[in-house]
Symmetry: C3
Subunit: 337 residues, 3 copies
């Protein structure tokens, strides 16, 4: 294993091994496992959890990390092939990433969706291109259509909370002032499907999963004996849920058209998860990947109540990323030229 790009790209057994390694590292710390190793963290987009948990994960394994933020501290980077670079970008990723890979034992990159070109975002080409530019171990810290660190942390959260493998997970669209990437919904739906769960995506019709994403999720369900469907009927979808996972995302119908999307959302203010959503699933836990906008995506009383798992979820990021870093780096050769 030299790449951590997508949970769906792994064998189910590899995922189980990562989760077992996370449990082991929590119980039996290995504070020198990555001594002398350096992770290079490249953030094209802002971060709180991912930055802090990656730096902490490296430190707890005895390694260290550096952070490069193109456009903030470093100059903007060009990503298009063949570009005549007479604009804002001073450097191309074709130089920048291989150079940084030479200073690090592992490179990890965050680059959000364009939110303008649906087909390109669904194909997740930029992240694949970045990974192909370097030979060092490589981690996807959220790409246009994936967020495997979040997905693995959520799987661990489900295990730790004792949510049954065959339980029902409802991923519900929620309102938000801005159109957001499909990365987390895609990664979470695939994760739950791979875990063998009954996955229901609850959303207004305009927020249906675009076809390639629905197909990907269905394939994941088929691999693991789970199921996947979509619904616009709140009561039906939520009934019997073990987990209600809220997340906003952009409409595939109006992708890149902010005005049409804003008009659409003006009628969807009631897509704010509140306690009455849980009438048919009184024991369900509430999940969100964070950051979450209080009283827009979800009401204070849900977030501050006993069903909320959101902070616990975020804490699992540390342990699963320690496992990923350990798997990609420990035991290998220290990097020379």
């Amino acid at each position: 294993m030299n790449r951590f790009l997508s949970l769906g790209a792994l064998e189910l057994g590899e995922i189980e091994e990562l989760l077992a390694l996370a449990r082991r590292l929590e119980r039996f710390p290995e504070p020198s496992a990555l001594a002398g190793r350096v992770a290079g963290l490249v953030f094209f987009d802002p971060s709180l959890r991912t930055l802090a948990s990656m730096q902490s994960a490296m430190a707890r394994l005895g390694g260290s990390s550096f952070v490069i933020a193109p456009g903030r501290g470093s100059w903007p980077l060009e990503t298009r092939a063949g570009a005549v670079m007479d604009g804002a970008a001073s450097e191309h990723v074709r130089e920048a990433l291989p150079v940084l890979a030479g200073y690090a034992d592992l490179l990890a990159v965050r680059a959000f969706a364009s939110l303008t070109d649906l087909a390109a975002d669904l194909a997740d080409e930029p992240m694949a291109t970045f990974a192909a530019l370097v030979q060092t171990p490589f981690v996807n810290l959220e790409s246009a259509i994936d967020h495997p660190c979040q997905a693995l942390a959520d799987w661990r959260t489900l295990d730790e909370l004792g949510i049954p493998r065959a339980g029902k997970l409802v991923l519900t669209w929620a309102n938000h002032p801005k159109p957001l990437p499909l990365a987390v919904p895609a990664a979470v739906a695939e994760m739950a499907a791979l875990r063998g769960m009954e996955v229901v995506v609850l959303r207004p019709e305009a927020y249906a999963f675009p076809e390639p994403l629905a197909a990907r999720t269905a394939r994941a369900a088929a691999r693991a004996g789970g199921s996947f469907r979509e619904s616009a009927e709140r009561d039906e979808a939520l009934a019997g849920a073990a987990v209600v996972y809220a997340k906003s995302w952009a409409s595939a119908r109006h992708y890149g058209d902010r005005e049409a999307e804003a008009a659409l959302r003006r009628g969807l203010g009631d897509w704010c998860v509140d306690e009455d959503w849980f009438a048919g699933a009184p024991a369900a836990r509430f999940f969100h990947c964070l950051p979450v906008r209080r009283n827009v995506v979800v009401a204070d009383r849900v977030l501050d109540g006993p069903r909320s798992a959101v902070v616990f979820q975020a804490h699992q990021r540390l342990w699963v990323q320690m496992a990923v870093l350990h798997r990609l780096l420990a035991g290998g050769e220290r990097r020379g030229r």
Copy 2:
């Protein structure tokens, strides 16, 4: 001790112990005391000394640190309870700080005064709220009305320079292009009072300490046998000073009214500390917490002359913060979930 929020919240004996620990760590380094420990540093506001000295302090004790800067590298954070978060802030501190605390063994936060609501700033509510959100050890890196790391460093500076416990410390207001928080003047006056000094706050009438702050400083003086008073008479106040500590702060009279404050200051350009201020205290040392604006707050010839202790003061930050981190973290359990 699990919190370092304010010098005034400590027993005098605890302060002495921290200072003794700082001396010990300077003389007998403990480069592995915090091996495997991680400090999370959250800067809502910019920093130079505090950031560098905290990261260096962790490193010199064998630990490491990560930095989160909401609004610069991370998104802005909401702090108001009950907010409908449809504005700029993507995340609430109620999630962000507990999440970060899960990645760290200690959280340290800087959040400056609002400079708009005097009562709120004097009550220092945001920092108390932040601290209450997390169970990990917590350090105040400058709040609306306090700066305990600066105060402890200044206490150590006074000790190292041999300034008598009962010596006279004059905290003088100085001119500045902008209204500044009361945090440092409040922390320094309290510190000197707790050390048993004769504390005189020299300022134009419009810059008198607001009543709750004056009362807090007087209580500190009462605890330690020192004294506290204010004066607008420069010669009288400065006579016999062992230390002249310059600092600008906002007028409580015009708090939040930048135009009224600016008008007031146009007549106060002579509140720039110069050598002639020391006629009645020729051996007095000059202190400032930095950053300092040369030739506005204090003349070059004072800062560059032998009475200036400002760089030495700043260097003490390292040793006292090492003591605080050691006290809060060493010997405890390594953090699990």
Copy 3:
């Protein structure tokens, strides 16, 4: 050796020793050589390679580092002597750098050229002033007229690629949307001259080296038995080159006059290095310090072809900087007050 300010300030034997140390550290890692040591990295200007390679170099030697970025995370710093600081800058380097030096075992500073005052930039006064403010070991991470880390890395690159000591190195001006500092061309030309190479600077007449720079390069050539000349004739200059090193720089004729410079450049779009430049030097390697603008400075087919050494060049930064840090820090006393 307590300063690394300019390759030209070193004895040739000292440079050879640094290169030998770099080779040794690559072959025989010393992961504890700088245990407990802290480097303070001050970036007045943005960085990608320098930041990442310095942090990685400290980490690989067992030390750590902190980063201060005035104006981004920290406030802007004043550099002028005698300034009345009532503007944007909150702090003067006369305080900031000695303070930071107290937290670190070594200070390293990047501060680009003004690009407005040619004489001041050629004199490189700011970096000399910064270095004079601190007693700790000090590294120039690119100043107005020098970039010794880049120069030393390029020397190592030439050695590693087997470029003969007496080989011909052509430093060619290239087009660029913006006027850029003379630091890299100055440092590279001096480095190649000190290595004993035949150094030819190929440029349009308006981009001739200003006289003090030409004189400095000629002196370097005289020290080492190499040669230095300038030329505007592309074919003649390039014939027989072992290395073609491309870099754009500002015209000394129009220094600080962006409009005149922009007008001048409108006729120079063919100064984009392409494969046909190598007709008279078919085996020549292509160098650039990066960041490089593709298809403005150099064509894709050169950068992506086998003659390009640019990523390899950048990777050498790590090893030579490890040598510089090791030389300045290892074996010395751990820093007390």
